[in-house]
């Protein structure tokens, strides 16, 4: 705001002077609602856009802009916005300062060639305006290009009838063992959860024995053994039966002395 005020040579606080009469407020019929000005401001993408508009509106050559004239107009617009207390992006004020600087430079006597190098703010500004104009045009071109959703439609055939195979996750044995390693480490920290290290084959056999007892029937003890498994297998089964009994998962019953020993699942008996 301050920048704008400094730049605008205001003789008095009048909004405008029409035929010598100062207007301190907007006349009713001339009133432009701030909303409309906001819309107006919103139609510009920034100071370069506004500047470009001022130049193009008068069919001026971008390479040959009458800086003073354009600056004056630009500042009038900015001033108007400020007057209406519209929030102006800082960039607009920076541009106003730049324009004022260029203008003041041009008023100073020329120091021959030294000002006509690429440091010349006017040359820089012109280049920026050119670059912006090119991009502005390119954006319009892109907007005009045919595009999906608006001008372009995909042709497709339905595939909802097609069964899609959904593969199940794979795991490596190693991953499972690593997971177990973690569990063991954690369990060790909790001393009361000492995991008994029994041969795995016994645990496996416990499951298969228990499964055989499914259905609630009593099974003859001897029938739980598979002779072709050899000694090792028999021992494993035996240990499994003892462990199951210890854990209270099976009952071992002998109804009378010297009769067959029967085994049954505790859960099945319930």
């Amino acid at each position: 705001m301050q920048v704008a005020e400094v730049l605008t040579p205001r003789v008095e606080e009048a909004l405008a002077i029409v035929q010598g009469t100062p207007f301190m407020e907007f006349p009713e019929d001339l009133y432009i609602p701030p909303d409309a000005l906001r819309v107006f401001l919103d139609t510009f993408e920034g100071p370069l856009d506004l500047l470009l508009y001022l130049i193009r509106r008068q069919n001026l050559d971008i390479l040959n802009i009458p800086i003073a004239q354009v600056t004056r107009q630009y500042i009038s617009y900015i001033d108007m916005m400020t007057e209406l207390r519209l929030e102006l992006a800082a960039e607009y004020l920076v541009m106003a300062a730049l324009l004022a600087e260029i203008k003041s430079r041009m008023l100073l006597p020329r120091q021959a060639a030294e000002e006509v190098d690429d440091e010349d703010p006017r040359a820089l500004l012109i280049r920026r305006l050119q670059e912006y104009e090119i991009i502005k045009k390119a954006a319009e071109d892109i907007d005009g290009m045919s595009r999906l959703e608006r001008d372009l439609f995909i042709a497709k055939a339905d595939v909802s009838m097609i069964e899609i195979e959904r593969p199940l996750p794979d795991i490596q044995l190693r991953e499972m063992l690593l997971a177990l390693q973690d569990v063991l480490k954690r369990a060790d920290q909790l001393s009361h959860h000492q995991i008994v290290k029994e041969p795995l084959s016994v645990r496996e056999r416990m499951s298969s024995v228990l499964e055989r007892l499914k259905g609630g029937k009593d099974v003859i003890f001897n029938c739980l053994f598979l002779i072709q498994e050899g000694r090792h297998g028999v021992v494993v089964t035996f240990l499994a039966i003892l462990e199951l009994s210890k854990e209270g998962l099976i009952e071992i019953i002998q109804h009378e002395p010297l009769t067959e020993i029967m085994v049954r699942s505790v859960s099945a008996s319930a």
């Binding site: 497709k156 195979e165 063991l184 499964e211 055989r212 053994f225 028999v234 021992v235």
Partner: protein
């Protein structure tokens, strides 16, 4: 503009099947073709695609282009998904069931120190890696889980016996390089670890009885 061409384009672009009436309503009010005309267009288009790998098919909610069934196999491959990954919790649960079976969910929770979600158990059951072997006779009659034949097959094991012992798992480095070695060492190890105490007694005692029961067992196994 040729109505048939418009209809064909509409049917290809539409997300949903379209009835003849819906096709009609897509046209501007004053240019709507008769339903008969549209039906004829649809029939002609159907005819045009008879030899192609897609077809214009009438389903409950209208007409749509779809890939012919004989190409399902190829098109299905297009949508094959990468398999998701199982969680650490699932792997732990599976390992505990394998090593501590038969176990209840409560047992697993005790060992892991955290709750086991129903989802994990369900996934393992659906995968047929575990099964319910029995129910424990305690309040609530919790299921006792054990691993299955499919579990062994999946890991290409003939018996759980081939897995490393808990002690080995604790001690060994399970890096890729050592993994192979571990599995080898392990099977020998298991032999050595056979419980010495039991080696004699029960084994010899049982032998004759065992022999007599072989037949029964085989019957059951069949």
């Amino acid at each position: 503009m040729d109505i048939k061409r418009i209809v064909e384009a509409l049917l290809f672009a539409s997300d949903k099947p379209m009835t003849v009436t819906q096709l009609q309503q897509t046209f501007p009010e004053l240019e709507q073709p008769e339903l008969d005309t549209l039906q004829q267009a649809v029939d002609e288009i159907t005819e045009d695609y008879v030899l192609r790998p897609i077809e214009l098919k009438k389903v409950a909610s209208g007409y749509r282009f779809q890939v012919k069934p004989e190409l399902s196999f190829w098109v299905g491959r297009l949508f094959e998904e990468k398999p998701p990954k199982y969680s650490r919790a699932l792997l732990e649960t599976l390992a505990i069931i394998a090593y501590r079976q038969p176990v209840t969910r409560g047992d697993i929770e005790d060992i892991r120190g955290v709750a086991v979600s129903s989802n994990i158990v369900r996934t393992l059951l659906e995968r047929e890696w575990i099964k319910v072997i029995a129910h424990k006779e305690v309040p609530g009659r919790p299921a006792l889980y054990g691993t299955t034949k499919q579990f062994l097959d999946y890991f290409d094991l003939s018996s759980l016996h081939e897995l490393p012992t808990l002690q080995e798992i604790k001690e060994l480095d399970l890096s890729v390089a050592s993994n192979q070695q571990l599995m080898q060492d392990q099977s020998e190890e298991q032999e050595i670890n056979r419980p010495e105490v039991n080696k004699h007694g029960p084994e010899t005692e049982l032998k004759s009885e065992v022999e007599s029961s072989v037949q029964d067992t085989e019957e059951v196994a069949q």
